[in-house]
């Protein structure tokens, strides 16, 4: 298994070398980190200096999502509802990634996502919710999400989000 992984890694490294003119170093770094994550290891994205915002009214989920992002080396803040997510952006803060819950008091995830997009916020927003009915997911996606994952969130689901959203540091 280890030899197989080494073989694959070598092949990928050669491919990346050949595509060097099209990929930045950081892009390669993130790609390899995600690759190793999908092979079962936890990537450390601290060098990428990604930032994230956790938007969830549930204290248990706040704690878990904050820790998951920490584990991946992603600095993150936590707010309790959609209104706070909007307010924090109005104060001038910006994030690479927003993990948005759907059901929250004051302003829910759908309303908050729409509002943030209206404000011109281009951060990647991933919906994270227990609601998985097709119609509910569709409504959430149409509000302006870039990706969606069903709770409970795990390391592998979070890595999947990062992979789907093609995160890389601009040169």
């Amino acid at each position: 298994m280890i030899l197989f992984l080494c073989y694959i890694t070598t092949g990928l490294l050669l491919l990346i070398r050949d595509c060097n003119e099209f990929l930045s170093f950081c892009h390669k770094h993130i790609f390899l980190e995600v690759f190793f994550a999908m092979a079962g290891e936890v990537p450390n994205l601290a060098e990428s200096k990604l930032t994230a915002l956790v938007v969830d009214d549930n204290f248990v989920n706040q704690s878990i999502h904050h820790k998951l992002l920490d584990r991946l080396g992603i600095k993150n803040d936590v707010v309790c509802n959609g209104q706070e997510a909007v307010d924090v952006h109005c104060s001038g803060r910006n994030y690479d990634l927003i993990l948005m819950d759907m059901d929250m008091p004051i302003m829910n995830g759908i309303q908050a996502t729409k509002r943030l997009r209206e404000m011109g916020i281009e951060s990647k927003i991933a919906g994270v919710t227990t609601r998985a009915e097709e119609e509910e997911v569709k409504e959430f996606m149409e509000a302006g999400l870039n990706d969606f994952q069903e709770k409970p969130l795990t390391i592998s689901k979070l890595v999947s989000i990062l992979h789907n959203l093609d995160f890389y540091v601009q040169a």
Binding site: N58, V60, N61, K67, D103, T130
Partner: protein, 145 residues
Amino acid sequence: MQRQVALIKQSLFDQGYLDEQFMELEELQDDANPNFVEEVATLYFKDSARLINNIEQALERGSFDFNRLDNYMHQFKGSSTSIGASKVKTECTMFREYCRAGNAEGCLRTFKQLKKEHATLRKKLEQYFQLARQAGPKEIARRPK
């Protein structure tokens, strides 16, 4: 003592009190947060006690507001799912089905069972965490067989 801790944890999985999500949380523990799972569990039981209280008050009123009850239980289920509280999660799901069916008796019956499962899990996890602290730094979490 480490073996005793491992056996208690294994039994929690074997008896269906916990599911894989609990293992996911244990894998987040590190030197910076060696008691992360216990901290999350503490948060969960504090939050769920509040929800149980809210639901009890709503049920005691007599007139069943199934929408409100369903909302409370949605939150409860969400927390229970996140911590891996499998039996509690199952009762939450059943309660919500009774809410959607407008079945008051089913809600009452399920809520009684839910409180029982919740109390049992709390007691067992408190025992587990106490023993784990006495045993010292834990070995890396392993998935139960």
